[in-house]
Amino acid sequence: MTENQKQEKQKFRLKDLFNRPSKPYANPYLGGVLLGMVLFTSYFITGNGLGASGGLSRIAAFVEDLIAPGHINQVPYLINLAGGQRNPLDNWIVIVTAGVLIGGFTSGVIHGRTKFETHKGPNISNQTRWLFAFLGGICFTYGARLARGCTSGQALSGGATLSAGSWVVMFSIFGGAYALAYFVRRLWN
């Protein structure tokens, strides 16, 4: 630790944590190698890959259970997650999701990238960006439930284990996005 950093630490204020100078992202190939190693570690130790949409659906089931507890027991898909006395959050994938949030937050703080902001294309307003992010979120998890996994659970994890279905899902995701990209180019360019 240099002298400079020590001084910074003495005058620690929470606000400073979120106002550090942003550092650039890692080299993409380095990021890829590290991500591949994390994926391998997960399979090697637990037999399971990585996932994100599974955690989201359990959180959604949990929220639904709070709002309309009786309803859960009438929807077959939700019964599996939260029917009867089942706690939808008592599952390894939810724990992984919590880890993702903590890990992302930690790295963001360390590298000065945890701050309230909206990333968007140059030609749209923040509100438009938020609306489309919301709509995109709806589509993405709907598709992820239908395909039984998202970019993490299917494309990345299934891709590395050479699951045939996962490669089909992967090409479908990229195919869908490339096919529509031209028509919504104003969002991003």
Binding site: F18, A26, N27, P28, Y29, G32, V33, L34, L35, G36, M37, F44, G47, N48, S53, L56, A60, V75, Y77, I93, I95, V96, T97, A98, G99, V100, G103, G104, T106, S107, G108, R113, F116, T118, H119, W130, A133, L135, G136, G137, C139, T141, Y142, G143, R148, C150, S152, G153, L162, S163, A164, G165, S166, V168, G176, Y178, L180, V184, L187, W188
Partner: protein, 411 residues
């Protein structure tokens, strides 16, 4: 025995198991963040060939993960049969994938990246996650409208090796070469559409690509362990069970197991179809030794209380099948002691004796009874009356609850 993956539930307490998953999630989130996956314009601009950062991270990760997995499997550290391989549902996968693509380009995230964006306080990420929760809700409400489509075109644990009928090592090499080619092509596209100079990127990436290809070739040269290799390793642990006849269950124990509703009994009759048609136990499945390898994935995926009992006319064939199944990591496999012949010796009723005529002289692994008609399971000995028989035997079945993962990251 192949040591990995670990069976965490039996090794550690639940909090410690969850701690491991928390750490894995932490690393996952950390790496996604340093790779720039919380920056939606980067995610979106890959679809305009301007900045292929995300595409590069993604395909590099798949190849590195794949190579490490199959290398550790080749050297006998990791059991590929016991890791979760997403089952294939062809059409729901295609349609779901296309819908995800729409969500990707509209929203600028995927679920994992949106979580990291939320964690780093990106407001667009927060909206995406909220939309994501709504998407799950809508799915739960609508999936019943097309559940046949959702559950249809199911192919089980289907790998690229199965589809192209190629050895694992060859598929690994082809995927690696394809990924390297796509990454190279991606850089060319970036040069044209994104005005990026690939010469500015570190040279080390060429060496990296070389290392990936070499590792893929090494994996192909070593090859994946065969059933014989697997048995050789397992013989140290299970060989004694075989010599001490710990795996052979008495007909009486099998009869009692029929009536044990805590167990899910799967009987595998490995005789010829002709013998099977003459006589077989009620609900026994006829799977010849040649067909056994195709069933292994579905056996592994069965519920934790499943007990497999293999039977042939005597014991020789069934013991070989037991070795195959056990070596391929199917848990709780037993052999019917003395086979169908001893079963008939024990349970043949006057009805069968009348139909079968006398016992006949027969060779090893041949049926010792002569049937005049193909009875199948239409006679009392196929499902003996439990109350009539009180047989003395040494109990052998013990449930080993060590199981492969029964769900991936998508539950």
């Amino acid at each position: 025995m192949i040591p990995f993956p670990l069976h965490l539930e039996s090794l550690l307490s639940k909090p410690l198991t969850y701690l491991i998953f928390l750490l894995i999630g932490f690393l996952f989130g950390y790496v996604l963040e340093i790779s720039g996956f919380n920056h939606s314009p980067s995610l979106a601009s890959q679809f305009y060939f301007k900045d292929l950062r995300v595409f590069k991270v993604f395909f590099t990760a798949i190849v590195v993960g794949m190579l490490l997995l199959f290398l550790s499997s080749a050297v006998g550290l990791l059991d590929y049969n016991l890791i979760w391989v997403n089952p294939t549902y062809l059409w729901s996968g295609i349609v779901g994938g296309l819908i995800m693509g729409v969500g990707f380009i509209l929203g600028g995230f995927c679920p994992g990246t949106s979580l990291v964006a939320l964690a780093t306080l990106k407001i667009d990420g927060i909206f995406f996650v909220l939309g994501g929760l709504v998407g799950v809700f809508i799915f739960g409400e609508t999936v019943d409208l097309y559940k046949f489509f959702f559950n249809g075109s199911y192919y089980g644990r289907l790998t690229l090796m199965d589809v192209f009928n190629l050895r694992t090592g060859i598929v690994v090499i082809l995927v690696t070469l394809m990924a390297v080619f796509m990454l190279w092509g991606g850089e060319q596209l970036e040069k044209i559409y994104g005005k990026k100079d690939p010469k500015k990127a570190p040279k080390a990436r060429y060496y990296g690509a070389g290392v990936l290809v070499i590792v893929a070739i090494i994996i192909a040269v070593i090859g994946q362990p065969t059933t014989a290799d697997r048995w050789e390793k397992l013989a140290l642990v299970r060989g004694d069970d075989l010599t001490n006849r710990e795996i052979y269950i008495h007909p009486g124990e099998l009869l009692d197991t029929f009536h044990d509703h805590k167990l899910n009994l799967v009987m595998i009759d490995v005789r010829s179809e002709a013998d099977y048609n003459l006589f077989h136990l009620l609900d026994a499945e006829n799977i010849t030794p040649e067909e056994i390898p195709e069933s292994i994935d579905s056996f592994i995926a069965m519920p934790a209380n499943t007990v497999f009992v293999v039977m042939s006319n005597d014991e020789a064939t069934s013991t070989e099948v037991w070795k195959t199944l056990t070596a391929q990591a199917v848990p709780n496999v037993y052999v019917l002691s003395g086979g169908i012949n001893q079963w008939l010796d024990t349970f043949a009723t006057p009805y069968e004796e009348g139909v079968c005529g006398d016992m006949i002289e027969a060779g090893v692994e041949e049926l010792h009874y002569e049937f005049d008609a193909a009875l199948g399971s239409n006679c009392p000995a196929a499902y003996p009356d439990h109350d009539k028989y009180h047989l003395e035997y040494e109990k052998k079945i013990e449930l080993d609850l060590k199981r492969a993962p029964v769900g991936g990251g998508c539950g």
